[in-house]
């Protein structure tokens, strides 16, 4: 069974991103970049399925500028077998990424596509579902458990108020939620080995995708600030304030 794992290069989750003073865009000068945390969980899941003997080959794919090869190398160091870089300038929209991934799916014919539920930059939570629509595959979004069966996969999903389990015909798409697994760290020998693993580059033209603009960012602002309130001395003062000042209890 072949698994295709999509990974995205994003600002490291520890970085507090701010709007530029002129409001045109976020300030990404000299910030640390990393693999999107949800994508890291996707890589880990594929590696675990390979260790369990279910998956035989893991292909890591990323759509973006040349620098995203770094994140493909991270996936290779974590256990992916080879990489595909689809080279696109700027910040492609989710629908564009989904169309490019559809092209890769067409070339690779994976049984399973595993990707993060959302990237922590745009917070769109769209690409996996869009790839599902474009390929006609079923989707197990917000997955917290994955069980491969005979020609199908059972996915337990995090939904409002609990968990839902669905069974999907293979090939299928899984998008990861936080509790699916805890990703490992890449060991130094594996990081060295990853440098020798094959990494191919494709262009949108080779995948017959023309890039269109659907949604344009016209500006950014910091979120409204919430002013700090007061410190109360003890519980009785707190209860008094809530009853008589805020009038919420």
């Amino acid at each position: 069974m072949k698994a295709l794992v999509a990974v995205k290069r994003v600002v490291d989750y520890n970085v507090k991103v701010r709007a530029k003073a002129d409001g045109t865009d976020v300030d990404l000068n000299n910030v640390k970049m990393a693999i999107n945390p949800f994508c890291e969980i996707a890589v880990e899941e594929a590696v675990r399925l390979k260790e369990a003997g279910t998956v035989t080959e893991i292909v890591a794919v990323s759509v973006g500028e040349a620098s995203c090869q770094e994140q493909i190398r991270t996936a290779l160091a974590l256990g992916a077998d080879r990489g595909i870089h689809v080279e696109v300038e700027g910040r492609p929209e989710p629908l564009t990424i989904a169309k490019l991934l559809k092209g890769v799916v067409g070339q690779e014919s994976p049984d399973l596509v595993i990707m993060g539920k959302q990237s922590i930059d745009g917070d769109n939570n769209q690409t996996g579902q869009m790839l599902g629509a474009l390929t006609g595959m079923g989707q197990g979004t917000f997955a917290s458990e994955v069980k491969i069966g005979e020609g199908s996969v059972e996915v337990m999903r995090e939904v409002d108020g609990g968990l839902q389990t669905v069974s999907l015909t293979l090939p299928a798409i899984i998008t990861t939620d936080l509790r699916l697994n805890e990703p490992r760290y890449a060991s130094l020998p594996n990081i060295m080995k990853a440098k020798k693993k094959p990494l191919d580059t494709l262009t949108p033209e080779q995948l017959s995708v023309s890039i269109q603009t659907h949604v344009t960012q016209v500006g950014v602002t910091p979120p409204p600030e919430r002013a700090a309130g007061i410190k109360v001395e003890d519980v009785s003062q707190l209860v008094d304030k809530l009853k008589n000042e805020a009038k919420v209890i």
């Binding site: 976020v26 769109n124 579902q129 939904v159 609990g162 839902q164 003890d234 707190l238």
Partner: protein
């Protein structure tokens, strides 16, 4: 201008999130219709017909839609979408699951989690875990949008008199099946709909200590939430999680207990009307957004608080 709102419901009743999405639809102007796709969902459709400001309810009652499987419902929404300028859904687990599929079927972009409507094609939405608010403009003729429910005040659930129209379209993509559902049973209000929320963080130390929140929650008719740190530590299930990657809440009163106030948590609760923070670390960032901060050991403060209210 015509807008279709995809209802959040459980076949028997309409969920409150639908009312927030209808409010966003009304703000766009023009006719607002609601789609209730389910199985045996006529009660939910009747409830939708009562919602203020709605012209028409489309009731698609078919076994294929019973569990809101995205593969099936998206085909239906995309087909009905031919008659509409805007397709909206609340930004719930269902809305997030279904709508991007609809957008891709229609070859349009989706605008996720909108906070405000600036004009017919321009919206604001949070990016980078709510650290930045982006203003985005859609160039698609047909817009697919999910709505952050806490950003739009719900319309009245009563007072409308929409017509209910049955839709016979049956779409079964045949690639997914519902297996089972484990929904937490609780007498408490739902986290996203509660007027009071009390949440615990890593400072609770373990899952058993969440019982300290229960007595207070019972007295205030509050929902219980948690920070991602508490969920990651295994204290409570993920559906308790308040934050950018969990639930977004905006109750009248939010009580954060033993929560340091990571950005990802603040993104999920900072629109609450009144915020109370109880934490023994006086430098915890949660105090920067709290209206009332109490620097105290939660194991002493919580029993006192329960006794005092």
């Amino acid at each position: 201008m015509k807008t279709l709102v995809v209802a959040e419901h459980d076949n028997a009743a309409l969920k409150a999130a639908t009312l927030n999405a209808v409010a966003a639809a009304a703000a766009l102007g023009g006719e607002v219709d609601i789609l209730v796709a389910g199985a045996g969902c006529s009660a939910a459709a009747d409830a939708a017909a009562q919602v203020a400001g709605v012209t028409k309810v489309i009731c698609a009652d078919n076994a294929a839609y019973e569990h809101q499987l995205a593969e099936n419902v998206s085909l239906l929404v995309a087909e009905l979408g031919a008659d509409y300028d805007n397709l909206l859904a609340p930004s719930t687990a269902n809305g997030k699951n279904i709508m991007p599929r609809v957008a891709a079927l229609l070859d349009v972009g989706q605008i996720s989690d909108i906070l405000s409507i600036e004009s017919a094609d321009t919206f604001t939405r949070p990016i980078y875990a709510g650290n930045v608010i982006a203003t985005v403009q859609s160039s698609d003729a047909k817009k697919v949008i999910t709505v952050r429910t806490t950003a739009f005040d719900a319309v009245a659930a009563e007072g409308g008199s929409a017509t209910v129209e049955a839709c016979a379209a049956a779409h079964d993509a045949g690639v997914s099946q519902f297996v089972r559902e484990e929904v937490a049973q609780s007498d408490r209000p739902e986290l996203t709909a509660a007027s009071v929320v009390i949440s615990g963080g890593r400072g609770m130390q373990n899952g058993d200590n969440f019982s300290l929140l229960e007595g207070i929650a019972d007295k205030l008719n509050a929902a219980i939430g948690a920070s991602r740190a508490a969920v990651d530590a295994g204290f409570v299930p993920n559906d308790y999680q308040v934050g950018q990657t969990g639930k977004i809440v905006a109750p009248d009163l939010y009580i954060a207990v033993g929560i340091s106030g990571a950005i990802q948590h603040l993104a999920g609760m900072k629109d609450s009307k009144v915020i109370v923070a109880i934490n023994k670390d006086e430098d915890a960032p949660i105090f920067q957004v709290a209206d009332y901060g109490l620097v105290a050991d939660l194991f002493e403060a919580l029993p006192e608080l329960e006794a005092a209210i």
